[in-house]
Symmetry: C3
């Protein structure tokens, strides 16, 4: 495996193999598998789970990491082509990226959406520009519109809790003080569709996911016997659900316009998921969220701390899921 950038780059059986490898590495650790291997981690945005779990995963496989955080101990990185660099950024990705790649066996890059131009973010312009400069195995640590490590960990979590492959999966918008990127909703939607689930995107009017994200998920669903639809009706969407996955995201029509997005979400504080949302769901319906989550803003704390919540297990599963990716990518055959 040379690249782990998008779960959609893999056929369903390949994903299932990765999940099986993740479970095997949990049962039978391989503390020497990646001996002498070095993973470079480039963080252009904050991180807790990704930062900790990749370092831990490499260590548990016998390898090592270095971490680079531009603007925080490292030069600010410029990414625009053709620019005269007489401002704050001292280094361009055209040098920075190949240089980092030359020091490691695989490179991970976190580069959130810029939240200025929707088309550019959906096309992954920034991540593509960076990945084109890397001639090493590459891992997407969350890009503008994707988060394949989270998706793989979530799939493993669904399996562990016996959620049926064709079960009902509700991806619900949740309130947040400001616009967040489409990375996790897009990755989650695609993952659930590829798993074969009946997926419903529950969101207020005006917060529909962009067509490109919906279409990609529908293609995955078509291959896996699943389905994807949208709804603004909470009771209808959640009726009989196996899982409600809460996630905050931006207003696509107001993308890049902070004031317009704030106006669009002004009256939506009620979209803080709480136990009463689950009345129409199956009794054992689960709550999922990728974390970090704003308690009592996006999800009520009683729900997060209650028996429905899988959020801690989702986060834990980042570790074995990513170890499987690293093993597949870097282990000598």
């Amino acid at each position: 495996m040379q690249r782990f950038i998008d779960l959609a780059d893999f056929a369903r059986p390949q994903v299932l193999e990765l999940l099986e490898l993740a479970r095997r590495l949990e049962r039978a650790p391989e503390p020497q598998a990646l001996r002498g291997k070095v993973l470079g981690l480039l963080f252009l945005n904050p991180s807790l789970r990704t930062l900790a779990s990749f370092q831990s995963g490499m260590a548990r496989l016998g390898g090592s990491c270095f971490v680079i955080t531009p603007g925080n101990g490292t030069w600010q990185l410029e990414s625009r082509d053709g620019i005269v660099m007489d401002g704050a950024a001292a280094e361009h990705i055209r040098e920075g990226l190949p240089v980092l790649a030359s020091y490691c066996d695989a490179l991970g890059i976190r580069a959130f959406a810029e939240l200025r131009d929707l088309a550019s973010d959906l096309q992954e312009s920034r991540f593509r520009a960076m990945s084109a400069l890397v001639d090493r195995p590459l891992i997407n640590l969350e890009s503008a519109a994707n988060h394949p490590c989270q998706a793989l960990a979530d799939w493993k979590t669904l399996d562990e809790f016996g959620v049926p492959e064709h079960g009902k999966f509700v991806l619900s918008w949740a309130w947040h003080p400001r616009a967040l990127p489409f990375a996790v909703p897009a990755a989650t939607l695609h993952m659930a569709a590829l798993r074969g689930m009946e997926v419903i995107v529950l969101r207020p009017e005006g917060f529909g996911l962009p067509a490109a994200i919906m279409d990609k998920a529908r293609q995955a669903a078509a291959m896996s016997g699943g389905s994807v639809r949208e709804s603004a009706e909470r009771a209808d969407a959640i009726a009989g659900a196996h899982v409600v996955y809460a996630k905050e995201w931006a207003c696509a029509a107001a993308y890049g316009d902070e004031a317009a997005d704030a106006a669009a979400r002004r009256d939506l504080r009620g979209w803080c998921l709480a136990e009463d949302w689950f009345v129409p769901a199956r009794p054992d319906c689960r709550l999922m969220h990728c974390l970090p989550v704003r308690r009592n803003a996006a999800v009520a704390e009683q729900l997060l701390d209650g028996p429905r919540s899988l959020v801690l297990r989702q986060a834990y599963n980042r570790l074995p899921a990513q170890m499987a990716v690293l093993h597949r990518m870097l282990k000598q055959p």
Copy 2:
């Protein structure tokens, strides 16, 4: 050993065993003892010794670390219960702590006193809230009112320099530009008392240590044949001393009130320890300090650089002392 949070959680013979293990690991390194083990380090406050010595100690035992510093590459962590998280903090300790714990074999947490409410800090409200969320072996990297790693290293240092178990130990207040927590004075006082020493707290009027700290030390002294008393008279306190341990701390009566604390210390610049303080002491009386120390403000540089000073050895001893803790905690039997 599941927790290393407070030296008072251990009986005196257990502390002596840890010290013996520390010396053994110095003589006979065990570079494979913690192979494959991962220590997570969560720093909510700055660090030099702790940050470097734990990473070095794990490496020398064959293990690895990851470091997380909220607000500096990682999300800011909220710790208040029941709050609506619509401010700056993106993650709550109720998720953040268990998640980090799930990625490692042991977790270390540094969380200084909040310096707002004395009772809350003395009760370790913040550290207790965090430790309750961690189901892994846990190490206190300095909390509101404790610093057991420093205390263990200091005990080792006293042993190395032949300071008698029942020798005279003066814990002296030292000037500092602003209020500092009670963590090190509390841990030092308890350590010296548990070692069996004749302990005197030398401090200006108004800077007595809180009763809870004094009482805890007196209980340890009672078990070890030591004693604990206070004095504001420098010559009396230092007469015949084997050790003077300099430390800066807050005015308890002005706790949480910056202006009142500043007023209380305004005329105390003379409490900068200097060579002439040692005239009534034993000729070979030693100077100790946990570092970092403000030269010529808390302690005169001639003293720090002179033959009495053990400060560098105290800092070095953090390494073997902590390696003993890690070995006891994580080594397979």
Copy 3:
């Protein structure tokens, strides 16, 4: 090897041995050579290449690193002697440096020029003060007027591309929005001279390198059969050149005076190296730069991305060159 602070501390054959060792470690990795060894890295200034390549190099040799960045997770470090420390800095290098050294097998220090006093920077006052406090093997990660790791990597790069030992090497000043230190120009000039090259420093009037730097390079040239001269005439300087090494540096006469330096460089935006500069050079003349480089300000992007450019290989060579230094320094005989 106890110190790697200045390439001038080594005789030419010793440098050639290090380069041979670097090539050997590329061909025949030694993943256990530094097992259990710990390298401390102290960064008082930003870094990308040095930070990543030293961590990767230690990992590839079986060792480990810890990284300390004062002011960023660690206390600010004071370095002035005799000062009353009642300001922002909580720790003095007189404690901080020996303590860090006591936790590792070798220490690397990055401490850029202070850009206030030219004589002080040229005499390496700050780095000397720090290195005097370290009783461990010590590596200069870039000081006020030196960068031996870069020089060693650059020498290796020249060898790899078959640049003749007595070939023509032009060190050319390049425009930059503000004054930069003399570290890389000084190290590069000395390296090229010690390699035996015909070295020409091409720079605008007013931007000559300080006499101490020129003299040191001339001494190296005298030992190696090379030569060193200055020129302000671009065509003359570059005529027949094998290599043009672009580098930005301060106006020595305006050192420490930001406004005067800005005035001195105001009309020098034309000193942005571009392809047409190479017309009088040899057809296969190479472009070198230590990175980071400001595209289209110091060097045109067409040149950086074109076939003349060795900048990525120079950066990559930091890894094997530094591994050779670490191996020589820390490998048990």
